[in-house]
Symmetry: D2
Subunit: 308 residues, 4 copies
């Protein structure tokens, strides 16, 4: 079995291999130029900050559906330990174990491969147990700060949340863009709101994960045309799940990460951002969303903040 022709045709159209040189490991993050960042900072009007990360806790979004992607286990290694003797200042220290993609996170470019290749044509087997992703790991993305644009698809469609079978199309994105009153441009980070996070916040972990609305296989071309730097949304799987085409699993992952070299964000909580943008009558903001630099990581938890 191999990937269908339809996939390869889109792949060819969105492919960015070589665009930023044969050695590039950043992909579309290259589109966040100093100029883009200056404009992003100029977006700030109220100074209001909206955090977009879910709390990191054992009762997190993972249900066991994805083997090995464990919720954060936080344990104490010392509690009010008077390290230097009785009556001295006391310290508490702690430790965490977690899957790098378990919570609100970025996928690194190396998170998926297809046909034996990673982004920019690197061999898939350059991901190894000893060292993880030697190319396209999350540690290559040392800063992600840009203009953020909320495309509130649920609101544009007049529903609190999209239903589980809804594939978000380019038309949906454009309707949301029109509602947003801005035009997505090069270097932007696009946040696509489906409303699916409401299920997670209500405690329905299984319903949150599956079935899930998400991005259609048709969206990578739209993102490519607009030259966005990255895309994140409020679902577990990012793309619609189960997929639009039987036997074509995770095509959006493959197109975004491998072909375009565009990082994806998942499990972002966009509910309060939607409210805040509604209150302030805008959809653009400075977005600070730098991942933790895990060397060789195929992803990283991130605590994104939108500054309105």
């Amino acid at each position: 079995m191999s990937l269908p022709d339809a996939f390869h045709e889109i792949a060819q159209r969105v492919n960015n291999w070589g665009r930023w040189g044969a050695e590039d490991e950043l992909g579309t993050l290259n589109l966040i130029t100093d100029e883009v960042v200056r404009a992003a900072a100029a977006c700030v009007r109220s100074g209001r900050r909206v955090p977009l990360a879910l709390p990191l806790e054992q009762d997190g979004v993972q249900t066991g559906m994805i083997p090995g992607r464990v919720n954060p286990l936080h344990t104490m290694v010392q509690i009010n330990q008077e390290v230097f003797g009785p009556g001295t200042v006391a310290c508490s220290d702690d430790t965490v174990v977690m899957g790098l993609q378990a919570a609100t996170h970025w996928d690194a470019l190396a998170h998926v491969s297809h046909s034996g290749r990673l982004y920019n044509g690197r061999p898939a087997d350059s991901v190894t147990a000893h060292g993880g992703a030697h190319h396209g790991g999350i540690d290559k993305a040392r800063h992600i700060v840009s203009r953020g644009v909320l495309l509130d698809v649920a609101r544009a469609r007049g529903v609190p949340r999209l239903d589980g079978g809804h594939a978000v199309t380019p038309e949906d994105l454009e309707a949301a863009e029109e509602l947003a009153g801005t035009r997505v441009r090069a270097g932007d980070i696009v946040l696509v709101r489906t409303g699916q996070m409401q299920l997670c916040l209500a405690g329905d972990r299984h319903g949150y994960g599956h079935p899930s609305p998400g991005l259609s296989i048709r969206t990578p071309e739209w993102f490519h045309a607009r030259d966005v730097a990255a895309v994140a949304n409020d679902t577990l799987t990012f793309e619609i799940f189960p997929p639009e085409h039987a036997d074509l699993w995770l095509p959006v992952h493959a197109l975004d990460l491998v072909e375009m070299g565009m990082p994806q964000g998942q499990n972002w909580n966009l509910e309060k951002l939607s409210t805040a943008c509604g209150e302030e009558g805008r959809s653009t903001f400075l977005l600070a969303a730098t991942p933790e630099p895990f060397v060789g990581g195929t992803g990283s938890p991130v605590a994104p903040v939108a500054v309105l």
Copy 2:
């Protein structure tokens, strides 16, 4: 044994308990108002971004000196796994184990206690194995974005790095402030550069940790007078180590975290920031440094970015 009178006298002067209400868990982060953030965004001129985090890797800064504070162990749970069958898109996933204070990090207010109390008078025993810090945990700080000011003490003193016995005093901070050409003000996040990180970057982990230059017991009053929101530096221990006064260990931690309720950052790499600020002739910038929201965490890794 108990803490000396000299400590308690300073404590009384810098104490912020009740200042933001009996229920407050944010401390001086309350000083980062919307107005402060607007001004911070207005600082951005070039759009240049400087990441301040050390890479997260097993060969990290920890040497075993602090029991249980383990360097990140990154392991793979799947590598190019064709989850949905042969020939399909392949996924790589990974997991990390690490001490929350092991690398570039923020100390939460609950990280230390003295005399049985945490910040705002909470009982120290509200930190438990089951749930960690129930008050003043790092998850309370959902966004840390403000104006950053580099106080380059090493440069102000004309040395590449301060020597191991150097306690950074208020006079040092003011000399650096003068060099910076700005005045530290309410809500700022102050980054104090000692140059000690050079030892770490050169591979001398033991020399990096001990003996170390760091903040003097006299600095909390200065930070309190200026109403800064947070302070970070480029050392393992934040304060001078071994301490200035025999048998008075970690007094700066106790004053900053417990009395003032001011978060501290450690192991921040300020070398490239020093260079960049020199090149651009400035010392202020937008600083995005939001911790990961570990529920009950007494600290968190952070990937700070200075936007110049």
Copy 3:
């Protein structure tokens, strides 16, 4: 609220504090004398070995009902790594994260406390985040090898497995003892089979855990009278769960571990042992069941083997 008088009356009758000295940390394991071990070895007739541990895997018995008691997460740190250069011998190494009580395990004496006390009157607060159990930790039990006796209560009652509401009583134990054709004696390790493990093996993790048959609050006196060294069974909770008396939770844990100082084993798979004992017409064997010596551990996984 405090423990009821009925509990304290039994506690008084089974209490072993001071029996082996004020410093003792072994409790009833002291009953396994050299003579007992010689007799245990003399039990071996066929040489057949029956392993009693469940496989250690992520799809283990834990369901999240007990917070923080995580199933084993096994990850690779190197895979066929040619450490000394291309073409050399290649190594694979791995790592595990797990709750010490997550799978087939022994409870250490320090696993529970009541009224502020551990076994032998040690203060409960001698269990700390830094170092774990300073008294009565699992590392104190450096060898557990003795005569094992299978008390097959399900078989004695003529059912494949006891139902969820069945509290195993002293009368049940004596009926099973009669079926076994032996008399439980000092230093024995008693394995009590309920058949509940069948639910776990069939994949019903939730049904396995709750409701569960298990030992009655009346059994500690019986074990005390017989001077057994340790008791294990094939359930998640060891004792009947929910408990026999409303508002009296985990009384058997408190009586066995705190009062008697007798280790308890849980999640032991006794199904094949039941069959083997049936085939060989016997119920006694050499049992090798030494825990891993986790310093300060309040429990340990164990891979018990019955040698028939």
Copy 4:
């Protein structure tokens, strides 16, 4: 580069592939028959038990020389938690993170490969990040109980410990066998004492690891001739390290694990066993040394007990 002819010649002589069938995953553990176990039980005379495992603790034998092989990190997830309300029985639970080969352990057959093959000709790439060792994992060895024989090479050579450059030869083994007053036979587990453990116990972790006495490349043939079931010793590397022949690293691992299919044990503390055997005038005993059944594990901690 590939392995030298001298290696392949020995490999051919000790190869056991197919000996127990094409599907075999147990290797020489097949030699532990019921009859062998009966004889092992008959060895027990005094009933004295000697534990051979090092304590599992963060201050363990690993120094960082082997990346990712981390010492046990033991953390508490609850401490005296009154799970069912104030005044009820209180529980303490804990968690561990550790390298499976970090402490006293068995190597699984899948721990090494050479020339792309594991034991019994399985492809090396059957070890994967998702599931670990699919063939020859430690979970296949569900019980290891047999006759143990101490070959005390240090004592036989009249030294407290062998020096770092000493390769233990078949002649050394035979001299120790003569001292032991027994003949090693099929199904035995041989414990080879070098005395190197004394360095570890004295706190010299680095000296313990390197340089180290250990088994010579000539020993696999001797073990093969005697049909032993497994071999363990008191060193970090099992075989002499650095190796006898430049550029031939880990040949004993490859011969024992891949060619013979014989498990190896490392970091076994044989000091007290040496004393006990001396006191009792014997060198054989019942050895109970079952690994924990980590599914897909390439090794496992083990708490071996010699019953004299």
